[in-house]
Symmetry: C2
Subunit: 323 residues, 2 copies
């Protein structure tokens, strides 16, 4: 399957009305940002639009539009930043998963589950795809839209740190800044602010961090109890996913988190030449070359062991670990 063109995506949106926008579960900045950027743009086009989203992290609430939570039966469903229908909230997958008219995404592992898919794996964020779409279509990027797009691009690139940041990404961000958004304040809130709860959680996480495979893999397992002890919600702890890969010498950083339903979810961050998406695909997940995720079942210890075995295999295949 192939991506449709920007032209076709704009045509398709033009033909729709009574639109429901969804994004992946456990939303990050790109999920929330692309949802509300598209919401505002479609509203500007005179469409009736609504959004459904759960568990928005506290520090992303400022881009949520309360008026988007209307209630009408949707005629068209559009998903954003969603590589697979299984990545929607389970109840949304059942209810809407097979009826998505258009999916706007940037994941190389996109499963083409929608009727039409606009996907650009070279884009750092779904918000970068939306920037391209709006620019192509001559949709005015207001300051309100720009904040949403900026949040999506900055969070998916670790504020322009990660390898997915291209010259095109930076130029898109430059255009967004020119609408007058206060990027310093936005970044301070998202990247530079730690609640006392997060500081306590981070300290516990640093103590739980363990090295394995000769220091080339670092694993952080987070049981539900760790959230409870720090008095924090899982949604507000995404910042720790980057911790394991930060240790000097580590090629694969694995964060294994217990969900409320007892199922473990893994976030894998890697460095060249280790492919995170390839590791997670073995467990039915997916993502990008250096950042991916998958579900692992209810046995935390077994889940961790399986994933470490997959990392070991990848390190050996890359000649970084002796067979």
């Amino acid at each position: 399957m192939n991506s449709i063109s920007l032209k076709r995506a704009f045509e398709a949106l033009g033909q729709m009305d009574d639109i429901l926008i969804l994004a992946h579960a456990n939303p990050d900045g790109d999920a929330v940002g692309s949802m509300f950027a598209l919401y505002l743009a479609l509203r500007g086009m005179g469409k009736r639009v609504r959004c459904e989203i759960r568990d928005v992290p506290e520090n992303l609430r400022f881009i949520v539009r309360e008026e988007a939570f209307a209630d009408f039966p949707p005629r068209y469903i559009v998903t954003v930043d969603t590589g697979d229908k299984k990545l929607l909230n389970a109840s949304f997958t059942d209810k809407y998963g097979d009826h998505v008219a258009l999916n706007i995404d940037h994941h190389g592992t996109n499963g083409f589950f929608a009727d039409e898919t606009l996907v650009d794996p070279t884009a750092a964020a779904a918000c970068e795809v939306l920037f391209d779409l709006f620019t192509f279509a001559g949709i005015e990027i207001t300051k309100e839209i720009a904040i949403c797009l900026y949040v999506g691009i900055s969070t998916d690139t670790g504020c322009f740190r990660y390898a997915n940041t291209t010259a095109k990404t930076l130029r898109a961000a430059a255009c967004l800044l020119e609408t007058g958004i206060d990027n310093g304040a936005v970044n301070t809130d998202i990247f530079e602010t730690k609640t006392p709860q997060f500081v306590a959680f981070e300290r516990a996480a640093m103590n739980a961090l363990r090295l394995c495979l000769g220091g080339k893999c670092a694993v952080l397992r987070i049981p539900q109890q760790m959230y409870k002890d720090a008095g924090i919600k899982e949604a507000d702890t995404q910042g720790v996913n980057g911790l394991p890969r930060m240790i000097a010498g580590v090629y694969a950083g694995v964060t294994v988190k217990e969900r409320e339903n007892g199922v473990y979810h893994a976030s894998v961050r890697t460095k060249e030449p280790i492919n995170a998406a390839a590791i997670c695909e073995k467990f039915g997940g997916g993502g990008h070359k250096y950042a991916a995720g998958c579900e692992l079942g209810k046995d935390g210890e077994a889940a961790e062991a399986q994933l470490v075995a997959a990392v070991e295999e990848a390190l050996k295949a890359a000649g970084l670990l002796n067979g």
Copy 2:
């Protein structure tokens, strides 16, 4: 005093030869990056050039050019990223401070100590000023030069997080990426890699962090012993300067570090509306609106109290603290 133009700066450099480049003491990425970017550009112009620099942080060594440490009597001295001659290493201040032909800088508090000064306070980094100069002058920005400029811009903006990042900054960075530099790997090394020593140091720093002034000011005092306990050099701990400001509710984060000679140095990071440079100027220091520094004498406790008093005054003046 006013800045000279890009045209005049290029003319001035064109007339020089046997050039010595210096940057401020305790060099950060912008000091090291602007030094070696200028070194490479002047070499490309056929000039004899050398550099003198001390205490380069471990993670910035990859942009240092060993061949730049030649030994010849300089006819011209050029400084980069240096707002005041006192900010050079003390021995350089004495030897060269009154003989600087050209200073290329971006600090709003620049003291115009050189014969001629190219300073742009709207630039996020001295490396952004150099990018403008090279672009204006048609000097080819090779991949080697681009890496130096990118390191300077990314470190002085916290990898494009801080409020000093403008649309122009992002477009300059976009051009640098197009030379083929591996921005992901560079950023991973600079921003995302923690040695076990740094992890130990960071844990100690988090424990030493204290809130005051009703939670609106956070102070981190680092005695020499803290470096010794963690087995780390001060030059490799600049990452902690941002810690105090990160606590939610904090307007001024103060890091007070004991130097090897027993003198305390303060780094002040603030949030709108608190002006860090204004606070540090009271102690003879300077810098930018949200990030500045100053020397404080040998009594750590008194130094800290003085600075907290200055922060208190600023908070009261801004109506954030009751008189």
